[in-house]
């Protein structure tokens, strides 16, 4: 069996055209992840530019209101560019630069990964092109303009369902057309090996910090660590350093859209089956013939028909649990955390908050939950207003 496996999941299911390039990336990453200069430069960027470490915030009001476990939020929404995506792109764009590349390309759903990539490319002087589903460029028009302000070229992808998976297709196609000077900066813990590992390593800074911070604040490990999950990068980043701590429950909250019993859903763990797509073996929403299903969620960032291979493995071995959260539940959580804590969290992150609101009251007061707020919700305000039937004019 090939490299980059998580149990039976993972692998490198990509066209021959990319194989030499992907082996080169593997080698470069193996080298630089242990290179003192690279590690120091990335650490410096994380601190001086991205604003790390992100705070672990004790949500006292929500804790009291929900009447159960102590609630902590890991505030990735406070990072530069407003989400956890910056952790990964600083690492990957720096890696691209060390590899002698002059151009980076990336897919984006909600636009957060696109904005983060365009940001890192601007800072590190790289050419940048972003592929975004046409549908998402409409839902997240502000982010398109933001990327353009940062000097990136944005391609609206018109094929298929015109959302995240089609953006990935287009970006992979572009990479096969031009590999010599270009690195595909993948936004999640998905795709062919070594991407799931690279992205996980760069995102695991979330749990590395959170583990230290909670030990400092409470003198003990949390009972639950939870995060929203689409492809799974903020979730694996939140889980990773806690995987070895068997007493810590790990919960990924996926987007159920209108519900897992409808066809308007993106809850891969709930309704998906094993398959091979986008370079990896994992779980996917698909029909009996393996046609990838058009998925739906109010959240463009979770609107993806697959899930990263390491999550598929964590599910298989029972180490992590994955729960579906509907649009309506997520929107209510979006509104709740805004009023209760004064935090406008991303609609993606609000999926995790929604499940937190279900489980916190069922837990004892001496128990602890850490929930990652993967991003801030400014980008979602207009969509939430539309969802609530409010007519906005800017």
């Amino acid at each position: 069996m090939s490299k980059g496996r998580f149990g039976k999941h993972g692998g490198q299911y990509i066209p021959e055209t990319l194989m030499n390039e992907i082996h080169g990336l593997e080698k470069a990453y193996e080298h630089y992840k242990n290179d003192a200069g690279f590690v120091a430069e990335l650490d410096n960027l994380n601190r001086q530019y991205a604003g790390r470490p992100s705070i672990l915030y004790f949500a006292e009001k929500m804790t009291k209101a929900l009447g159960g476990a102590k609630i902590y939020f890991k505030r990735e929404d406070l990072n530069h560019t407003g989400s956890h995506k910056i952790n990964n792109v600083l690492g990957q764009v720096l890696l691209a630069k060390r590899m002698g590349k002059t151009r980076v390309i990336a897919e984006t759903g909600a636009g957060q990964h696109g904005v983060a990539t365009a940001t890192a490319a601007a800072l590190l002087d790289m050419e940048c092109e972003i592929f975004m589903g046409k549908e998402d460029t409409i839902r997240q028009a502000l982010n398109v303009y933001r990327m353009e302000l940062l000097g990136a070229k944005v391609h609206a992808v018109e094929s298929g369902t015109k959302t995240l998976k089609d953006a990935v297709n287009a970006c992979m196609g572009e990479w096969t057309a031009r590999v010599s000077d270009t690195l595909y900066v993948l936004g999640s813990v998905m795709g062919p090996h070594p991407f799931p590992t690279i992205v996980r390593d760069f995102q695991s800074v979330i749990s590395r910090e959170a583990r230290e911070q909670i030990l400092e604040a409470e003198g003990r490990l949390p009972d639950v660590v939870m995060a929203c999950i689409g492809g799974g990068s903020n979730a694996i980043g939140s889980f990773y350093e806690f995987i070895k701590d068997e007493s810590v429950r790990l919960i990924g909250c996926e987007a159920a859209g209108h519900g897992v019993d409808t066809d308007k859903t993106a809850a891969t763990m709930a309704v998906g089956t094993e398959g091979i797509f986008h370079g990896m073996k994992s779980y996917f929403c698909q029909n009996e013939y393996g046609q990838i299903a058009p998925v739906y969620s109010i959240s463009a960032g979770l609107d993806y028909p697959g899930v990263g291979p390491e999550h598929a493995y964590l599910k298989d071995i029972g180490r992590a649990e994955y729960v579906p959260v509907t649009d309506e539940e997520a929107v209510r959580a979006f509104e709740y955390i805004a009023r209760e804590e004064g935090i406008i969290a991303a609609i993606e992150s609000s999926h995790a908050v929604a499940h937190l609101m279900k489980i916190a009251p069922t837990m004892r007061k001496d128990q602890i939950i850490i929930c990652t707020l993967s991003g801030r919700g400014d980008k979602d305000v207009a969509a939430i207003a539309r969802y609530r039937g409010v007519d906005l004019h800017e």
């Binding site: 090939s2 990319l18 194989m19 196609g173 031009r178 013939y289 046609q291 990838i292």
Partner: protein
């Protein structure tokens, strides 16, 4: 004698590609027969996929036409079985790996054998991952076709040594589609392949003129034309049969001796 070998027997091979079920499966059967009449030596039948990452806009559109018309893997097998009563032309599937994985490798290869499919081309299964399929395909005498790309370089010998059926030499970077100019030094790639194997080579990706057919069939043992044929189907729809025979006959007529 294996049917694929026959395609390259003492002559250069013109290989034509069609997306199965575009616009309908009844028409696919007719189109294959017309392409054979026009001089195609081997037919590559694409199993439509929702997300054909290695294909350009022309074949993407054909995939959508076919899936919208209700084409499925099972229906394609039935069509091939029916077609086999009328022709012994060598036939390979172009399919994305998920199609086989979801059907079950064993069941898929068995159906290939039963229906008379001679091989499979899988654009998203590189050498490193073929171990999960090849032993099963071998048992059913289904060749798993090797693709070699402009970027394969030092991998070429490793890939060519284990090749079965024929070797698909990808002429260009990127996805499938019609190209005015092909800049890769395919002659060098073919030379390296021939230094390690007798398996015939066919060049594809971007070929759409008689000049290109002549040039690449002088270098390799065959040429593959995909998007240009699918475009004919896209333009003429159900009426494409005669046009395909005419088109293939013109292109195949340009093959080198």
């Amino acid at each position: 004698m294996n049917r694929i070998k026959k395609a390259f027997d003492n002559k250069k091979a013109f290989i034509g590609f069609l997306t199965a079920g575009d616009p309908t499966l009844e028409k696919t059967e007719e189109f294959v027969l017309e392409m054979e009449r026009g001089g195609a030596a081997l037919i590559e039948l694409g199993i439509p996929f929702s997300d054909p990452i290695a294909d350009g806009p022309v074949i993407q559109a054909a995939n959508i036409r076919s899936l919208t018309a209700g084409c499925t893997t099972d229906k394609i097998f039935d069509t091939v079985a029916s077609m086999r009563k009328k022709t012994q032309i060598p036939l390979v599937f172009l399919a994305y790996l998920n199609t086989l994985y979801k059907y079950g490798y064993e069941a898929f290869c068995r159906r290939c054998r039963e229906c008379g499919v001679d091989g499979v081309i899988i654009p998203d299964m590189p050498f490193e991952e073929k171990g999960e399929l090849v032993p099963i395909a071998s048992r059913y005498d289904v060749d798993v076709i090797t693709l070699i790309a402009p970027t394969s370089k030092e991998r070429i010998k490793m890939l060519a040594k284990e090749a079965e059926g024929f070797i698909y030499v990808v002429s260009s970077m990127g996805v499938t589609g019609i190209r005015d100019e092909i800049t890769t030094d395919v002659a060098e790639i073919v030379d390296i392949i021939r230094s390690v194997t007798d398996t015939p080579t066919a060049i594809g990706f971007g070929i759409n003129t008689k000049e290109q057919v002549y040039k690449y069939s002088s270098i390799a043992d065959g040429v593959i034309v995909g998007s240009a044929i699918v475009r004919v189907v896209g333009q003429h729809g159900e009426q494409a049969g005669k046009e395909l025979c005419h088109y293939v006959s013109g292109m195949a007529g340009a093959l080198a001796e």
